[in-house]
Amino acid sequence: MIGIVIVSHSKNLGEGVRELAMQMTHEKVPIAVAAGIDTPDTSLGTDTSQIFQAIESIYSDDGVIVFMDLGSAILSTETAIDFFPPHQKENIYLCEAPLVEGVLTAAVQVAGGSNIDDVLYEARNALRAKASQLGIEDTTKKDSETKSIFKESTQEIVLPVRNRLGLHARPAAKFVSTANKFSSEIFVKNLSKNTDFVNAKSINQIITLGIRHGNKIMIASSGIDAGDSILALKKLIESNFDEEEPEFISLTLKEEEERMTPERRADTLSGIPVSPGIAIGPVYIYRPHIPDIPEYVAPSPDTEMTRFLHAIDEVKNDIERIRQNSSTSMDRYDASIFEAHLLYLNDPALIERTRDIIFKEAINAEAAWQSAIREMIISYKSLGDQLVRDREVDLLDISSQVISRLTGIRRRHPEPENAAILVVGELNPSEAAQLKKDKILALCSEKGNKTSHSAIMARSIGLPAVFGIGEDIDKIDENSTLIVDGNQGIIIMDPDAVTLARYRDLRDKEIQEKQETISRAFQKASTIDGASVSVVANVANITDIKTALENGANGVGLFRTEYLYMNRLSLPSEEEQYKIYKEAADLLGDRLLTLRTLDIGGDKPIPYLNIKKEPNPFLGWRGLRYCLDEIGIFKTQLRAILRASHERNVQIMFPMVATVPEVRAAKAILVEVMKELSQAGISFNRDIKIGAMIEIPSAVVMGPHLIKEVDFFSLGTNDLTQYVLAADRSNTNVVALCDPFDPAVLMMIRDTIAAAHAAGKMAGMCGEMAGDLRALPILLGLGLDEFSMIPTVISEWKEKLRQTSLRKAKELAEQVLQCISVEEVKSKYADYLKE
C-alpha cells in the first residue's frame, strides 16, 4: 500500500495533520510523521534521520509520498532520500501540495486504492475543492490535462486493432490493466472514428472510443517508462489480447439472424439458445429490487466522499470474494469479468465524476454516483455500438452494488424456495455468480445473448438457458409449468401431455448420458496395457472437493490451505481450520486428503501476517521457511490437521522444502504438537503420513536423503521449473524459458521419482504439468505414481490415459531424457503422436 509521510517543524502540526487524515480513512492508510526535534532549547525543527526512519517505517514498492511544510523540511527530506538505495528512491515522491489539503486528499485516494500517479495528481490539485468552495475559479486541471498529452518526451504509435471484436469489455480491461502497470501518462484515440484522446487508464473512456476490428488507434505515452508502455500495449494488441475466444462469441454478430423462428404457437416463446439442456418445472419470476435513490443536500461533501470511497472498497471486497469462489467452476476467461468490474470501480472517470458532483452540487453520495453512472451509460449509448451497449449491464451491476452498500439496503438474490425455472429481465454477473444449481433448474432472460456473463455462467454450471426472449417474456405466468429447451432456444408454457412426455423423454436421455460420462470418469483409469496410476485433485476449498468428486477424483493430492488464510483480517483459529479439514476429509470418505501446510510468502501477501514485500519473493521468506520461523502459526495448523486425522484418511505435505534439516525441524514440531495433544487426551492418527514437496533443485539433489525423512514426494513443477531455469514465470521477457518440458526439468523429475522408488516410496506431482495432457505419456513413462490436477480436467485426462500404452510411454521417456533442448523434446513428442 502507498504510504504517506508528513514532515513538519512542529510535532503538534505533524500529529494534527495525521489525526485529520486518519479520521477520514479509518486508520487504514499508513501515515508516518517526522516532526519537531528533541533539544533543550527548542522543539521546532526538522531532523533528517527522523525523516529517514519515518519513510522507512512505511516504505513499500507501491510508493511513498512525502508532504513537507517548508524550508529545512524540504532540504532535510531531500537529504534523507539520498540515503535510500536507487530502487527504493525511485518510489519515493516529494509532493509540493499544501500540507493539510495534500495529506488529506492523498490519504483518501490511497484508501480508495488509487495508484501513485492518481494520488499525486489529486494531491497536487488538492486546492481545487477549497477554491471552488470559495468561488475561486480553478484552472489547474485543464492545464495539466492538455499539457500532459503533448509533453516533449511523448512517444506515439499507430496500430490497427485486429482481434475479432475490437476493444470490447475483456480486451478493454486487459488494455487498461496493462496501461496501469506503467507510470507514464498514456492516451489513446481512435483514428478511424476521429475521436479525441482519452485516458488509457480509464476503462470507461477506452470503451467510449468504440474501437472495433480493423480500427486504427493512436497511443501516446509520456513519462519515464513511455517506451516500455508502448511496447507492452503493442504486444498486447498484436497478440489479439491473448484471446482464445470461445467459438460462440464469433457467432454473436450473426446471432440475430440465427435466432430460431419456429412456427409461432401461442404457448411457445423463442429466444437465443445460450446454454444447452432441457429443464421442466415451475416458474420463479425474479424482479430485482432497485431501491429508490433520494437526492438530498449533503452538508459535508467530505463526509459523502468518505462514505463513497468506503462503499467502493467494500464492493471491491465483495467482488473479490465472489471471484475467489467462482474461479474453479468457471474457466479463467470467464472469471476475468470480475477483473473488469474491479477496473470499473477503480476507474478515475467514474470516481472523479462522482467526486465532482458531490463537491459541486453538494448532494449525497448515492445520488452523485447514480448520476455519474447515468452519464456514462448515455455516452455508451451514443456510440450506437451493440457490443458497447451490452456493457451497460456491467455498469448497472456495479452501480447497484455500490448503492446497496451506501444505503445499507441489501440486494435480494434470486433464490426460489423450491427448485424452479428462473425468469428474469436480465441477470447481472454478480447475481449470476451466486446462482445455486440445486435451486435453479433453468434460466430464461428477456435480454442478453451468448456473450452475456450470465450466459457464460449458465454454461459453466450446466444450467439450460434461453436468452433474448424480448417482451414476450411477460406472457409467462407465475403459476404455469415451463419447458425450457436450451438446445433450440424454445420455452413452452403449460405444455400439453404429449409435448410434456416427449420432453421428459429427451430430458431423461440427456441426464442418462451425462451420468454415463460421469460414471466413466469414476472408473479406474488404466492404460491399454493395463497399467494404472492414481488420479487425484488439486483443491482450495470444499466446493472444489465436491467438483473433484463429481469428476471422479481418487482423492485430493493437494489442498491449498493458504486460501483459508486469505481475504480476512486475522488468522483462522484452530477450531475453524479443524472444521474445514474434517469436513473435507469426511466428504472424501476413504479417499485420501493431502493437506499442504501454509504456503505463503512475499508474492501472495496477507496483511495480518506481517510479511513485508520482498525484492525477491520467490527466493524469500515463504512456505516451510515461514512456518519454521512462525512456530505459533504453524503449530495451530498442525494441531488442526492432526485432530482431523483421527480415523480419517489425512496426510500432511510440507511446501518449499530446501534442506533435510528443515524437514527434521518441521517433524520435530509435529512431534511436539502430538505430545501436547496426547497429554490433552485428544485423539489423532499417530501414523499420519508426511510428504515433502519437491520444487527446489536442492531438494531434488538431496532426494535420496530427504526420502528417508518422509513417506512420499510430490513434485511442484511450476516452482521447480522456474528455479531450475532461473526464470521468473511472471516476467514476460523470460517466461518462454519457463518450460517444464525442458530436459533439465525432466531429468529432475526422473531423479525425484528414482529416489522415492529406491526407498520403496511413492512419487506424485501436483504442479500444473500433472494435468497437462501432453505431459501424460512422458510422466507416465518416467514412472510417476500419482497425478494431481484441477478437478475439471480429470475425466478428459483419464480418457487420454485409456488410449495410452505404457510401453510406448516408456520409450518416449527414454528418448526425451536424451534430448538437449525443449525443441528437441517437442519434436520427439510430435513423432510419438504420429505413431
Binding site: I37, L44, G45, T48, L75
Partner: protein
C-alpha cells in the same frame, strides 16, 4: 602537508568560533529569520565534538563524513542538511587520504560547496551560505594558481569570504525563511553566510597558528 590532526584542529576551531558567536548568529537570524541559526549550529558542532575521536590511524575522509552525519542529524534547521551535505561531499572528494596537499584542500572545499549548492538549489546573490563560501573557495583556488602557499591562499580566501558576507547585507533573500520577508530582508547580514565565514576562518587559523 595537512594531516589528520590538522583536520581535527580545523573542526575544533570551527566549533569554538561557532560557540563564541552563537548569540551573534542568532541575533542575525532574529532579524530575518526565526532566531535559531546560532543555537542550531552550536548544537550541531557540540554533537560533532562529542563524536569526534583522536585516533591517529583514521583517515580524513571518514572524519569529515562523521562531521556531516552529525550535523545532518542534530542541527534541526536548514543549515543541517546544507552543511551536512557540504562535509559529506567534501569527504567524498578526498576519500581515505591521511594527508592533504593544498590542491586537495581546495578540491575538498570546492566539492563541498558544489554539493551545498545542489542541495539548496541556490544561486549567488540569493543571500545564503554560498554568498560567502563560494567567493572564499574561488579566491583560494586563484591564489594557489598564482603560486602562493596555502597559508597565504587561505588568507585570501578568508578575506574574500568576509567581503561576500558583508555583501549579503543589501541583498533581498531568495531562499530560506528570510525569503518570506521579501524586500524587508534587505539591510541585514545573512546568518548562513556568516557561519560559513567562520568555517573558512577556522581553516585558515590552523595554518596561521600552527
Amino acid at each position: 602537508m595537512f594531516t589528520y590532526k590538522d583536520t581535527l584542529t580545523w573542526i575544533r576551531l570551527t566549533a569554538q568560533y561557532i560557540e563564541e558567536n552563537k548569540d551573534y548568529l542568532t541575533d542575525l537570524d532574529r532579524a530575518i529569520g526565526d532566531a535559531d541559526h546560532g543555537s542550531n549550529m552550536d548544537r550541531g558542532f557540540k554533537k560533532v565534538m562529542k563524536r569526534i575521536t583522536t585516533c591517529e590511524d583514521e583517515d580524513i575522509g571518514s572524519m569529515l563524513n562523521m562531521v556531516g552525519m552529525a550535523l545532518i542529524s542534530s542541527v534541526g534547521g536548514a543549515a543541517g542538511p546544507l552543511y551536512g551535505t557540504f562535509y559529506l561531499q567534501a569527504a567524498k572528494a578526498i576519500n581515505s587520504k591521511k594527508e592533504l596537499s593544498p590542491e586537495d584542500i581546495a578540491a575538498l572545499l570546492e566539492a563541498g560547496t558544489e554539493g551545498l549548492i545542489k542541495r539548496g538549489k541556490t544561486n549567488p546573490g540569493d543571500k545564503t551560505i554560498i554568498d560567502s563560501l563560494q567567493p572564499g573557495v574561488e579566491a583560494l583556488k586563484k591564489s594557489l594558481r598564482d603560486g602562493n602557499d596555502i597559508t597565504a591562499a587561505m588568507q585570501d580566501a578568508v578575506q574574500s569570504a568576509e567581503e561576500g558576507m558583508r555583501h549579503t547585507i543589501p541583498l533581498v533573500a531568495k531562499k530560506g525563511r528570510a525569503s518570506y520577508l521579501g524586500e524587508r530582508s534587505a539591510g541585514h547580514q545573512d546568518p548562513g553566510a556568516t557561519s560559513a565565514f567562520y568555517i573558512l576562518k577556522a581553516l585558515r587559523d590552523v595554518f596561521v597558528s600552527g
